[in-house]
Amino acid sequence: MKRTPRKRSAALHVPPGAPQKTIAGGLAVALVLAVAACGGDDNGGGASVPGVTDTEVVVGTHMPLTGPASAGYSKIAPATKAYFDLVNANGGVHGRKITYKIMDDGYNPANTQQVVRQLVLQDKVFAILNGLGTGTHTGVLDFLASNRVPDLFVASGSRSWDQPDKYPGTFGFNPDYTVEGKILATYIQKNFAGQKVCFLGQDDDFGRDSLLGVEKVLGPTGVAAKQKYVTSNANVGPQIGAFKAAGCQVVVLATVPPFTALSIGTAARLGFRPQWVVSNVGADYLTLSGLLGANKALLEGMLAVGYLPSQFDLDDPWTALFKRVNDQYNAAAPFDGNIVYGMAVGYLFVQALQAAGKDLTREGIIAAVEKGGFRGPGLAPLRYSGDDHSGYGGHRMTKVTGSTQDYFGPIYETDEADGPVKEYAEQPPAPPQNGIPAA
């Protein structure tokens, strides 16, 4: 390769002489001062509660609205906002309308740091609601704790949200991955006894906690082959190939939706058709069939778990309610599990606001959640108490038949430790007539 003398860039000629630097320096400082001026500060906050006035309460969230993780999850926050619109149209809670600020972090923890600080320091929100992502949210726990911001109903099943002594203001929502693993394993033990069970999990807390739960029930030798995947490597051929070679008959997937679809598709190409048992995180039928396209018939017979009303069962009064709200306030977006999830979160938050009373404070809402006793659309019980901040504590099995995904069998509940997996007999209550929890 002939190397020609490198041409000079006209821009690089001027040595950094003093006059230009001083002017540049001065202008830079001036710019920063200008930004500071319009930054607007009322750090003389006084005794008022941040984010709360007589007519409004402001909460914020961080969600992946863009980027590879946004598929599906980007629909959650708009659904919650739509539910809040319903509540606001009926006068709000104790006369306060709910304003929901949705910030995009692209599933990147560095962005989460920025937007959460913006919400707390700049927008002065009352609380953070339903922050999504294990890795993204872990990074802001310390900041929220030291600023005493209520951190409600984190959208992830990690056990990190259940640390009341370290993070007294943080509460989970999703059932823990370990709880889920135990329930999946219990079902496998009862219905697929003697068959070879294998496990594919994401290489982080999600996959690890799921496997922990599975092995608590099946025992340390119960899983014949264990494989991991990373979201940066979209080829699971080697892992699925290993399962096929090991003769797996049941495969447990602790995967996000793109990788659930990828695993099922790859297995079909290799001529390998085990019984798929999938985590709630990656099992939404509509999302998966969208990803698989023409191959969506491969989902037939897929087993999974869920804890919220089924979006397919329009006889369920909660589903009907959420669909109504979706049509009216969310521009009739495609109605799937993410919409149901978002509205369930909204419903629980409104219940907490009501329980906290007219004199709304940050300590007040934390106490209200800890008091617990909320009953809503969830199938499983909520475990909130003074020393349990984890959230939902159970699941019900689902199965894909044709083009629906329906619940069957009993609801199971358990804890994240070594407690047994029991059946839970209580049914969800009927929703209120206007869709808003009774005060």
């Binding site: 920025q114 320091l121 890795g135 872990t138 290489d203």
Partner: protein, 348 residues
């Protein structure tokens, strides 16, 4: 040369005083943004020296930031586990991070010294993608995609119980940035700075003049890597966490673009670049909010609009003003101060 150092020292101290006053005047969130810009400034300053003055394109500086950030996280957590504390702990951790980045810069620099043009770009691109992925390869230490949280001691009690944490963060970051700028300004005006420019402009002539080309190239890489490591370490302190997603390929590319828009080869341009990296996402988000669209449309635009704006700005600036913001300012300054610097060769 000595007068140059003294002059730079005076400028640095004056800037320090001004910035100190500024941190008292700003709201906490703006202090945090100032701190973030200061951390980015360490990186952009080193990168502009490497790419502008030494002519070596690096598309992997985000990864070099990670090689500084992770050791800081591990060191801070280790000190905390052993109950060691004190004012010297954080500077020591940062020094460890800089040292690690220096070694990484040496390795990459040695591999890159023999490469030119697209091959160099290719190696740095691979570094940008692969080094963060190493955190998943050795996830017992680095905890994979989830990353590590970084323990930082609260501000010393001597400052008062109500001292805003963000102001303390700004002080830490600004100290690092001022130190970096001071050292780089001296380096650029020294013999080594002249060697950088000589090798960039005409390698054959530089070699004939007795300059060791490979060593000069490697030195530039090592210096800029150390600066990137410091910047990464400071970001770890500010965010109180490290994760591979924070040092992705996108960040590496944004750094190059920020440096070019600010003005390649000029330290003042690095300042503009750092400011841009912090302000542009927020400005785009405010613009999207101000348009008050329907939820579905806003969802499409939010996130995508800043990217579109950044990309368009980049293209436009490169086509119309290759000297960047600082180049435009320099041209304007020259028009105001007609006395010429007789050392200049070839005005644009």
């Amino acid at each position: 040369m000595r007068s140059t150092v003294v002059r730079h020292l005076a400028l640095t101290l004056a800037a320090a005083a001004a910035l100190l006053a500024l941190t008292y005047g700003l709201a906490p969130f703006r202090d945090y943004q100032l701190a973030t810009a200061a951390a980015y400034l360490c990186v952009t300053a080193g990168l502009t020296v490497l790419t502008g003055l030494s002519g070596q394109l690096s598309l992997g500086h985000g990864a070099l930031m990670a090689t500084g950030a992770y050791p800081v996280a591990l060191a801070q957590n280790e000190f905390r586990d052993r109950d060691i504390s004190g004012g010297w702990v954080l500077p020591l951790s940062l020094a460890i991070g800089v040292a690690a980045a220096l070694v990484a810069g040496l390795v990459v620099g040695l591999a890159a010294a023999r490469l030119r043009g697209p091959y160099l770009a290719g190696v740095t691109l691979a570094v940008a993608v692969i080094v963060p992925a190493l955190t998943t390869a050795f996830d017992s230490v680095f905890n994979g995609d989830q990353g590590l949280s970084v323990y930082i001691e609260p501000p010393p009690l001597s400052l008062g119980a109500t001292f805003p944490y963000e102001r303390w963060q700004a002080w830490i970051a600004l100290t690092g940035a001022l130190l970096t700028m001071f050292l780089l300004a001296n380096l650029v005006r020294s013999r080594y700075g002249r060697h950088f420019r000589a090798v960039r402009d005409d390698e054959v002539a530089a070699r004939l003049a007795g300059i060791d080309v490979a060593r000069t190239q490697v030195l530039a890489f090592v210096v800029s890597a150390a600066c990137a490591g410091l910047g990464g370490g400071l970001l770890a302190v500010l965010a109180q966490s490290v994760s591979p997603g924070a040092f992705s390929l996108t960040l590496s590319l944004f750094l190059v673009m920020a440096v070019v828009i600010g003005g390649l080869g000029r330290l003042a341009g690095a300042v503009w670049g750092a400011v841009l990296l912090v302000l542009l996402p927020e400005a785009s988000h405010s613009l999207t909010e101000a348009l008050s669209l329907s939820p579905a449309a806003a969802q499409r635009l939010d996130g995508n609009l800043p990217l579109a704006i950044f990309g368009t700005t980049l293209v436009v600036v490169m086509l119309l003003a290759p000297g960047g913001v600082q180049g435009l300012l320099a041209r304007a300054a020259r028009r105001l101060h007609p006395r010429q610097d007789h050392r200049e060769v070839g005005t644009p």
